[in-house]
């Protein structure tokens, strides 16, 4: 039944786009978090000196 293909296509599209977005978001957050940690370390070193 080709209608099933359409149903599949629609739900796959939803899943793929949502997944890609969440993945990109988590990667973005991870990068920024790492940057924050590095900056905090730098600040601590500055304050110590």
């Amino acid at each position: 039944m080709t209608n099933l293909n359409f149903l599949f296509a629609a739900y796959t599209a939803i899943w793929v786009l949502l997944f890609v977005y969440v993945f990109l978001l988590s990667r973005r957050n991870r990068t920024v978090q790492k940057e924050i940690d590095e900056l905090r370390q730098l600040l601590r070193r500055q304050n110590a000196s």
Partner: protein, 233 residues
Amino acid sequence: MLRKLADTVLPFLTFVAMTAAIFMVFVQVPTDKVQGIVQRIFYFHVPLAMMTFAAFGLVAIASGFFLWRGSRFWDRLAPSSAEVGMLFCTLVLITGPIWARPIWGTWWTWDARLTTTLILWLIYAAYLMLRTMSGTGDQGARYAAVLGIVGAIDIPIINRSVYWWRTIHPAVLITREGGSGLNDPSMRLTFEICMLAFLLLFGWLLWVCNESGRLRDAAEDLRQQVIEHEPQR
């Protein structure tokens, strides 16, 4: 703190609701007699559409508050809402035609709702581009806020004009599909569960995206502090 709560409870609720939604859509709800199984796309398509319009409304409200109050909170909320809204809008524009093809025989019709959604997508895109392409700091935020407000005011006008555009000429009249002709109570329940699931999904994604913005701002603050603390060489 509220943050901890949102970080854990929100995704959990979203997961539960979405799982329930998937179950309802694929197992529980009866097949529509007229449209066949393709009709099931509807249960995700419509909540997606409602959320994208809600998202844009939120963009407008946040933009307004930002121009009025100037706090970073609103300027983080607005683009986050725009980002998630854009994602949902894209999904609406993909699932809509996939549904339309077997039902109406054509991928695209220029009917009022579909066309307005397309234009909404274009305005979202312009908003996000404007936000990233403006020069220094606050400027981009303010410009985007202006667009957010003007766009939101314009959408109803656009909708009405496209609707008139389509329905004045009876020869090309394409009646909008019922869609909301949900007779079976089980269908209505399915729809409501899906609506809830997407409301939660939107909330969760909005939260994560907003957090991203907050982290970026925190990083920027730290960077400023580091620069200030730099000893004079």
